[in-house]
């Protein structure tokens, strides 16, 4: 479903992604793990047509996203690391715009919107402005929206960041359910190793722009001789803290937190 070969992305003299190759099978949940600045988000951006790779090839559902951009875009849904809902609009309106942008016919769109809003337990709040939602509800809505156009692949970039364990648990339950019922391939990143261990069929660990390991959670633990995934992860990526210099997005994030009173 996703086939990446020798993918490279450089920004000036800095190599963010350095020749990674991996495959994700149809219907698989693939967790892409790595410390901050390892190249996770850059990889997701390249997979989702937001960044042009410097080298290497990507095939999504048999399509090359660089040349068949619109066709490829119809095949995947994405939940970004930063929120991308319109807080002034209602949950319904946010879904509606997405449906129109993805060319869903009117009746199908509304049918699917109702189905997903009910599944994600947001139906009763569909006419409320999104800015009144809790962090968990916003995340659920974003994921519901990502599923709206029945994508073949769903990308989730740290979807559970900042959520309490209850919301995280519920969110993964929904994602797993849709993965099973609709055979959606899920490509996710997270910093919570227990989540990856529980949800993912296979895992890829990236560090310094290179894949350090890939396999099932059990294989990865076996490879490193660790009893849990967190230890395996630390064994693979070392335990030094990665102090990234804040980029413009981080600065704006700080600004956003200031304005929203610490809530996402």
């Amino acid at each position: 479903m996703i086939c990446v070969q020798n993918l490279v992305k450089t920004f000036g003299s800095f190599t963010a992604v350095n020749g990674i190759s991996f495959e994700v099978a149809e219907g698989e949940i693939f967790a892409f793990l790595g410390p901050n600045g390892a190249g996770k988000t850059t990889t997701i951006k390249m997979l989702t047509t937001l960044l042009r790779p410097t080298g290497g090839s990507i095939v999504l559902d048999g399509l090359n996203p660089q040349f068949e951009q619109n066709e490829a875009r119809k095949r995947f849904g994405i939940v970004f690391q930063d929120p991308s809902l319109d807080g002034d609009l209602t949950a319904w309106e946010n879904m509606e715009i997405h449906g129109v942008l993805y060319h869903l016919p009117h009746r199908l769109r509304h049918h699917r919107m109702e189905e997903l809003l009910r599944l994600f337990e947001l139906w009763d709040r569909r006419n409320d402005q999104v800015k009144k939602f809790s962090g968990g509800m916003k995340r659920r809505l974003e994921i519901a929206r990502g599923f709206l156009h029945t994508p073949r692949i769903l990308f989730l970039d740290e979807p559970t960041l900042g959520l309490d364990p209850q919301s995280r648990n519920q969110l993964w339950t929904h994602v797993k359910k849709l993965n099973e019922t609709e055979r959606v391939t899920v490509f996710l990143t997270t910093h919570y190793m227990d989540e990856a261990d529980r949800v993912a069929h296979r895992i890829g660990v990236i560090d310094h722009g290179k894949l350090a390991a890939q396999g099932t959670p059990a294989e990865i633990k076996q490879q490193t001789g660790a009893t849990n995934l967190e230890d395996a992860f630390l064994a693979l990526t070392g335990s030094t803290i990665r102090d990234e210099e804040a980029n413009s997005a981080d600065k704006m994030r700080q600004f956003a937190r200031m304005w929203s009173g610490g809530r996402r």
Binding site: L50, F80, S84, L89, L101, R145, M252
Partner: protein, 248 residues
């Protein structure tokens, strides 16, 4: 087409729902209108230039339209990191349609904001010289809105952080406003200043509006129209091109 429409509608809905923001954005123009309009009135009259309140009204309307339209474009900075924009950038819709929907939405909101100021001006005592040319004044308002919404998109597409936003505000938006003849007549200026005002597209917008509302102007209305239309068209193309290059 549907994509353009729904993105346009989005901007409109956001505007109508943010009442606090509407009131806040009226603050600045009203301050100029009331303080300058009434404050400088006596001096202006003594200098033999007539009623300053009448004179400054088109300028204040232009201010509201300028700020509202250019900010809608600069808002891209925020919208592409934390807003809905990112979502539209991965949608299977040509970037051009997204840019058009957003620019038209921003321009429409700016015109509404200008109309709101018009109403306030009329309540405060403004009277157009000829009712017949008022619709043409509206036409100039639309041109100003489109031009600066496109300029906003062209700049906003490349902005990286909030500091850049401040810079644009202080070194571009404010000069565009102050050098446009919104607050003072463009006749008899020192030569350098007169060249600068002629390079400012807003000068032609305000002049056109003033011509249509009061019958007095510095330039020919056809020149006003031509400059706004041509500069606006160029900026739309530049804005669309810059927008198509956004990478996040």
């Amino acid at each position: 087409m549907k994509a353009i429409f729904i993105l346009w509608l989005r901007e409109l809905k956001r505007y109508v729902r943010s009442r606090a923001q509407i009131v806040a954005s009226l603050g600045n123009p009203l301050l100029y209108l009331l303080v300058l309009g009434f404050g400088l009135g006596p001096v202006f009259k003594r200098a033999g230039n007539g009623d300053y309140f009448q004179f400054v009204t088109p300028g204040v309307i232009g201010m509201a339209v300028l700020f509202s339209s250019i900010f809608s474009g600069l808002g891209l900075l925020w919208d592409r990191q934390f807003g809905f924009l990112k979502e539209t950038l991965v949608a299977p819709v040509p970037r051009l349609q997204i840019m058009i929907g957003r620019t038209l939405g921003g321009a429409t909101v700016a015109v509404l904001q200008g109309l709101l100021i018009c109403v306030v001006c009329v309540i405060a005592g403004f009277r157009p010289a000829h009712l017949a040319t008022v619709p043409s004044a509206l036409g100039f308002m639309v041109l100003i809105a489109l031009l600066f919404a496109a300029l906003g998109v062209a700049i906003g597409s490349g902005l990286q952080d909030m500091q850049g936003f401040q810079l644009i505000m202080n070194f571009l938006v404010m000069p565009i406003y102050f050098l446009s003849g919104a607050l003072f007549p463009l006749t008899g200026l020192p030569r350098v200043l007169s060249y600068i005002t002629k390079a400012d597209p807003l000068s032609y917008g305000i002049d056109g509006m003033r011509n249509m509302l009061l019958g007095s102007s510095s330039f020919d209305p056809m020149l006003d129209f031509a400059v706004l239309a041509i500069v606006g068209a160029v900026l739309l193309v530049v804005g669309a091109w810059r927008f198509s290059k956004i990478e996040i």
